[in-house]
């Protein structure tokens, strides 16, 4: 008889040895190491104010026969805090992506559910294989006056939490940085530099949606930046 048990950090945990009576003689082990009798109340194992280091496999053996009567994996963790969510369109006008993470780890498995509502319509945010915790949406309509509302819910065995973002289509447009930025010296002109770059490859339509670039530079010996 074996299963996984999730408990909160700081909780008091009582483990029963399966169907054994309270007054049965048993031995408990944690990850193979015998547990001192002082932690026992009859055949129950009492762990007070558990911490992360107490996660592991707990086994209960009948006193004389050393039969394995019960086994459980204890996972100590926390319920999720409010997740951090951000949405961005780096490929306007194709669509946008949302990515999220937890501000502090929970130490136990979490599942994420994301919902996107546009006016009255539910939209599907397709999860990316890589990176994890990211999904993308394709725009069907452009120049929308109705806001997008994205809700991310994170759930684990100890609780759940969520956060919501509401935004206009144009408010989340942010292209990726320029690519192949190269600064070359100009022959016979030590005071000049030739800088070249390319549009980010994620930007699908620079013809209709041109990008504007700003360049600043400084010689290493100076602290002040100059702008082109």
């Amino acid at each position: 008889d074996s299963h996984i048990q999730y408990e909160r950090v700081g909780a008091d945990v009582t483990m029963k040895c399966g169907s054994m009576d309270w007054d049965a003689a048993v031995t408990w082990t944690a990850n193979g190491t015998d547990i001192d009798e002082s932690h026992l109340n009859g055949s129950y194992l009492i762990l007070k104010n558990v911490d992360l280091s107490q996660s592991g496999q707990y086994s209960c053996y009948e006193g004389s026969s050393w039969h394995l009567k019960y086994q459980t994996t204890l996972r100590v963790g926390t319920p999720p805090k409010e997740p951090v969510l951000m949405c961005r369109s780096n490929n306007y006008p194709k669509g946008f992506y949302c990515s999220w993470h937890l501000p502090t780890p929970t130490y136990i498995p979490n599942s994420f559910n994301i919902s996107v509502i546009h006016g009255t319509k539910d939209m599907v945010c397709e999860k990316d294989a890589v990176p994890k915790n990211r999904c993308h949406i394709r725009y069907i309509q452009l120049f929308s006056t109705v806001k997008y509302k994205v809700t991310l819910t994170v759930t684990n065995a100890l609780g759940k939490n969520f956060t919501t973002l509401t935004f206009d289509e144009f408010a989340i447009v942010k292209p990726d940085p320029p690519e192949s930025v190269v600064a070359k010296p100009v022959p016979n002109n030590p005071r000049r530099l030739e800088v070249s770059w390319q549009n980010p490859s994620s930007w699908p339509d620079p013809e209709s949606f041109p990008l504007k670039f700003f360049l600043r530079y400084r010689p290493l010996i100076l602290d002040q930046w100059q702008h082109v």
Binding site: Y139, Q141, F143, S208
Partner: protein, 219 residues
């Protein structure tokens, strides 16, 4: 950009050939230049609207001036022309259709804004609105100018009163404020869209116009 320079050179070169009747260069120059001017105007108006909308929404008061305010679109709000469009449809618009959509939208929006102008409370708001309406009028004229110089007919103007016949005025104060909210929203979205519309036109118009003119003159 470069295409603009080539265009100017070609025009000057052609105009100087003695055997040819003088090409009316100023008209083509007009199209390319007024598209740029129209683009600049939309950016200027976008900037102006930010201040105007902030002031106006504060005047309307909560919840209209709350950043997260996200009301459902009521049927009555459909009177205001919407910039929202299917992505592929927008890409495939002809120059004429693109310009006409902008012309029609801003003409209607201007009418609605003028009605607003007559109703608002504070002097500051009236002043800002009047200034914005004047600029918006300039935009409508600018778009009209581009259409004319490209030989496109101007869309029929909006019928006199701003509300289409049969549409009732807002039955209460809150709904009236909602109408105002959506009007500003649509204006904002149209100006965001127009910059992209005129970007597309900028790239396409000057070379096409040169080719057309050369064909007409029998080259």
């Amino acid at each position: 950009g470069d295409s603009w320079g080539i265009f100017t050179f070609l025009c000057a070169a052609l105009c100087n050939l003695p055997a040819l009747p003088a090409l009316n260069c100023s008209e083509e120059l007009g199209a390319g230049q007024s598209i740029q001017q129209t683009y600049d105007l939309t950016r200027y108006l976008e900037h102006q609207l930010r201040t105007l909308a902030g002031t106006y929404l504060n005047y309307l008061g909560p919840p209209f001036n709350e950043p997260d305010f996200n009301p459902p679109r009521l049927a009555r709000a459909e009177r205001v022309p919407s910039a929202t469009v299917d992505l592929d449809l927008w890409r495939g618009l002809t120059d004429n259709a693109r310009l006409a959509a902008n012309y029609r939208a801003y003409s209607r929006l201007l009418c609605y804004l003028r009605v607003l102008d007559g109703q608002v409370g504070t002097a500051e708001l009236r002043h800002r609105l009047a200034h914005f309406c004047a600029s918006l009028q300039g935009l409508v004229l600018s778009i009209g100018g581009v259409m004319s110089s490209l030989g496109y007919p101007l869309p029929a103007g909006p019928a006199g009163p701003p509300a289409p016949p049969g549409a009732p005025p807002a039955p209460n104060d809150f709904l009236k404020k909602m109408d105002d909210f959506w009007l500003l929203k649509e204006l904002q979205t149209w100006l965001w869209r127009s910059a992209k519309d005129f970007n597309r036109l900028k790239k396409k118009v000057p070379p096409a116009v040169v080719t057309l003119r050369l064909e007409v003159r029998g080259f």
